[in-house]
């Protein structure tokens, strides 16, 4: 634990000194908030909780991209090799990735909340406990997916290609940019198997319906389950050295990290709960008569 904490502090310092990190993790999500509000929320203040939920989801989802790139860079530059001859284990290295990412994501979420509430005059704060658990579970879950990507790719080029594909799917098919009810039915059916959909849905419910941790159980359990599986697989597949290539079977192992979402997706397909919530939330912001977010 001592090693994990020392590494976490060190990696936070390094991230803060990295301009690319500051741009992608702080400036870009906040820019998204301004753009979303500018486009969708200018004449309709009641859309603010909905838009903020989407922006927070984008911020949290970004974890997987940043972490995978950072770990692969460290491996390619021979930085991880130096740690290998110390008593630091793969688990400490991976846990420090998750923790540093989590602690650095929280201020951005706080700034987004602050801007939404006091600059864009968002009415109500949703259920803060619900937001907090979704942000926490989501950040750790998506960061773990990043660790998996880093574990199964051998070069930065490979990492970037996989990240682009995953990011595109998460961004456009989960409701993070285009509301889920606006997507074609077959895309909605597919989105039920994506981790990003549960993150967006959970945050929207916490913001729009004041859903607390108890009523976000399915989303939380799937995120935490995904994080646990992804962490264990990453620790098994962890490579300190760029020379050590990922075995083919590693890619199969990696797929098992999405098992919680396949199960949840199958349940949601049968049950229709998530799509119904998404539709209600979307309708509520499309009806100008309502001025306050609905209570659940």
């Amino acid at each position: 634990m001592r090693h994990t904490w020392a590494l976490t502090m060190s990696r936070m310092r390094l991230a803060i000194r990295n301009r690319a990190f500051l741009f992608f993790s702080l400036i870009m999500p906040i820019a998204f908030l301004f753009i979303y509000v500018g486009i969708y929320g200018k004449d309709n203040r009641q859309t603010m909780p909905y838009l903020l939920a989407e922006v927070m989801a984008l911020t949290v989802m970004g974890s997987f991209w940043g972490l995978s790139v950072q770990l692969v860079t460290f491996r390619e530059q021979g930085i991880l090799r130096r740690f290998r001859i110390t008593p630091v284990g793969a688990s400490a290295m991976l846990a420090s990735s998750l923790l540093s990412n989590y602690f650095l994501t929280l201020p951005t979420i706080f700034i987004e909340f602050f801007l939404a509430r006091w600059v864009f005059h968002m009415t109500g704060l949703g259920n803060l406990a619900g937001v907090f658990v979704m942000v926490t579970a989501g950040t750790i879950s998506f960061a773990s997916l990043g660790l998996i990507v880093a574990s199964v790719t051998n070069t930065m080029q490979e990492t970037q290609i996989i990240n682009q594909i995953i990011w595109f799917v998460f961004l456009f098919l989960s409701g993070a940019t285009l509301p889920l009810p606006m997507l074609p039915k077959f895309v909605q059916a597919f989105s039920l198997y994506l981790p990003a959909t549960y993150l967006v849905s959970g945050l929207q419910r916490a913001m729009m319906d004041s859903a607390g941790p108890a009523s976000l159980g399915a989303e939380m359990i799937s995120m935490v389950g995904c994080a646990l599986i992804a962490f264990l697989i990453s620790a098994q597949l962890f490579r300190w050295d760029a020379e050590a290539k990922a075995p083919r079977r590693a890619k199969l192992w990696a797929i098992s990290a999405i098992i919680p979402f396949l199960l949840l997706g199958a349940w949601e397909t049968a049950n229709g709960r998530l799509r119904s919530h998404a539709l209600n939330d979307f309708k509520s912001i499309s009806q100008p008569s309502s001025t306050e977010p609905r209570e659940h």
């Binding site: 060190s10 021979g78 930085i79 090799r81 130096r82 001859i85 008593p87 050295d241």
Partner: protein, 307 residues
């Protein structure tokens, strides 16, 4: 004898695909000894060291460092070793003192950061980012990190590779300081000067095998390598005539110099002076070079270290 050694390597074998990197490497390193693995690139030096550091698994053979198996001893093993790796780096935006603090925090026993900064001449650079350091400063930091845990055994893989001669000499001074502390050091190098200056014993490695082992003096004495006499003459001479001088085994021309390789130096010099008098020629300069480890490597392999 094996049981008293700090490092024991027995019949180490390692293959990468079709390439046999190590073909039965064996040697021991005693406590407080500076032991050098000398050989050209690709000889198997780094593979040997990385197996000893626990970073690679041998195909077969036995390795012990302080009585511990690097593959299975985990944290206990990592606490007693320190290393400067051949290809490694730190994050660009990590400060010098932060690197020493961080790496020191991983160990139960550690040297203080101020002490290390002072000892390795990095005090002025304590707040500099890693990316702002010169090659020599990065190497000094790597050496400081290698001893941050007060290790019993230090592995230095090509510690001066790619550095200019002046910086290389600075690094030699640092390693000589460690030698005075009676640390057991295993270093790999392809610089003859480094092996001769720093090592108590040297194993010459080529094509994955130890082809000679001993102190630099023993290796020179044991070898049939000849002494080189470099002479410059007032007028050109016939190579054939110089080759026939007593004790000379070979004569070569290198720009204006004649290189005479002799097994009986005093007799060769007397014969040379007589010959020049007979030819009404004069000696402009004369230099005698004892056989170096480079000569020994050449004698053993037929190649130069940098070939």
């Amino acid at each position: 004898m094996l049981s008293t050694a700090t490092i024991e390597v027995e019949n180490l074998m390692k293959r990468y695909g079709d390439v046999e990197a190590l073909r039965g490497v064996s040697f021991t390193v005693n406590e407080g000894e500076v032991f050098g693995l000398l050989g050209p690139n690709g000889a198997g030096k780094t593979s040997t060291v990385e197996i000893l550091e626990g970073m690679r698994t041998p195909d077969s053979g036995r390795v012990r460092v302080c009585g511990l198996d690097p593959q299975s001893s985990g944290v206990e093993f990592k606490n007693v070793i320190g290393a400067s790796l051949q290809s490694t780096a730190l994050p660009d935006k990590m400060r010098v003192r932060e690197a020493l603090d961080l790496f020191g925090s991983f160990y139960p026993r550690r040297r203080g950061t101020p002490e290390l900064l002072k000892r390795f001449g990095l005090e002025e650079k304590r707040n500099a980012f890693y990316s702002q350091l010169s090659g020599g400063q990065k190497q000094r930091l790597a050496l400081a990190m290698a001893i941050v845990n007060e290790p019993r055994v230090i592995f230095l893989d090509e510690p001066t590779a790619g550095l200019d001669p002046q910086v290389r000499r600075e690094i030699y001074d640092v390693i000589e300081e460690l030698k005075k502390e009676k640390k057991t050091i295993l270093l790999t190098t392809h610089y003859i000067e480094e092996a001769e200056r720093l090592c108590d014993r040297v194993a010459i490695v080529d094509h994955g095998k130890v082809i000679a082992l001993g102190t630099p003096r023993e290796l020179k004495e044991r070898s049939g390598a000849v002494t080189r006499i470099t002479v410059r003459l007032a007028q050109p001479e016939n190579n054939g005539a110089l080759s026939n001088l007593e004790g000379v085994t070979e004569c070569r021309t290198e720009s204006d110099d004649y290189l005479l390789y002799s097994t009986r130096v005093p007799r060769t010099i007397v014969a040379l002076v007589k010959h020049l008098e007979e030819q009404n020629n004069e000696l402009v300069s004369l230099e005698i070079s004892a056989p170096s480890l480079e000569d020994i490597f050449l004698e053993l392999t037929g190649r130069r270290l940098r070939d």
